[in-house]
Amino acid sequence: MRDMFAWFRGYIYRVTCRLFRQNIEIGEGLLIYKRLSIVGKGKVVLGKNCLIEGALGDSSQFVTLYTHGESAIIRIGDDVALYAARVSAKYEIIIGNDALIEQAGLLDTDFHSIDKSRKTPEGETRERCRIVVGDRVCIGARSFITRGVKIEDDVLVFPGSVVTSLIKAGSCVGGNPAKPVAC
């Protein structure tokens, strides 16, 4: 029953996006169990058979895909499960196939510089700030991915970790800042 409703909700969302919101591309078979909120003028691409979930009975857990500015891109691969994930892009965020993101935040900009003026930070370019998450990556709850991070394939990020640097394929990381741990 719940699956049927989720499929129907995903279908409606896909059709409305195709009709009214040209900047969003959604593949077939989207399942929406919890609210999906896409805000901003940037480009959002969701692959086939994606899953939008959140903890039951908690209305604050929903998926947000925010783009700041028209040049922003969020590109999400096939068979991805977003479990109350918060993705927010000013430049570019790419998520590979078969990934699982649980209650984690991905943010590819600092918004403000660290000096007193709090202006837009200098030296942020698309190449430096791009976040790339590989295939079959699992990101645990309440963890955070900062700008310019590349996570390669088959990585497991433990809950509650803050990732600030490149992570090599096939490793498990945890802690703040994230370091390889035994799994």
């Binding site: 899953l51 979930e53 903890a55 039951l56 009975g57 908690d58 604050s60 499960a81 479990y83 078969d98 699982l100 649980e102 079959r136 699992c138 645990g140 709850a141 309440r142 088959d154 497991l156 433990f158 809950p159 509650g160 970790s161 803050v162 096939g170 498990c172 945890g174 802690g175 703040n176 741990v181 799994c183």
Partner: protein, 217 residues
Amino acid sequence: MGGFQSIVFTMCDIIKKIMADPRYAVHVLWALVRGCSYALYLGVVRRNVRIRLPFKAFARVTIIGPGRVILGKNCAVAHSAFKGLTIVTLSEDATVRIGENCHLTGLTIYCCNHVELGSKSMTAVSLIQDCLFVNQSFVRTRGKHSVNECGPIAIGSNAWLSTDAIILSGSKIGADCVVSVGSVCRDMEVKPYSLAMGNPVRRGLPIANVMRMTGST
């Protein structure tokens, strides 16, 4: 006898608070009514949940899932800015056991194996999760790390979990422990009466030593 004494003590405490601020009486009564109705509803409709009375609910209580949930006597769910108590059991043999006289504020529990909280423990807005990923069936089907780790969690009596603390699978926290703000504990055994801090927690600092160092005995 001990139970009777504790009831008398809590009654004295409540009466003192009411004498200081009469509005507290209304709050407590409302919380008791709310808590009892939660307990009745969950006990009758959902047979796997058992809440011992009296149960004070100052905030929302959400209990989901097929597993077994047992709350001891005289627990209280206190006010929080964000959320009340949330317990999610992910499988049928999951067991959540919470002791007597607990004060739970904004606690979230995801359980697929076994979670035990001792009596008199206090929690702030924190997360207890005895599996690495909630969306379990999803993890098992993919990738190199095919097994999702599930280990029981045991938290001793009179422990205090501070704001944003995360307790993950396989952690054992002794009696009278304090888990500090924003720390993440996984696969660790923290000795009784010690302070666990850091992300990840490496070892517990004995609180007696900490008190001596800071000079506040």
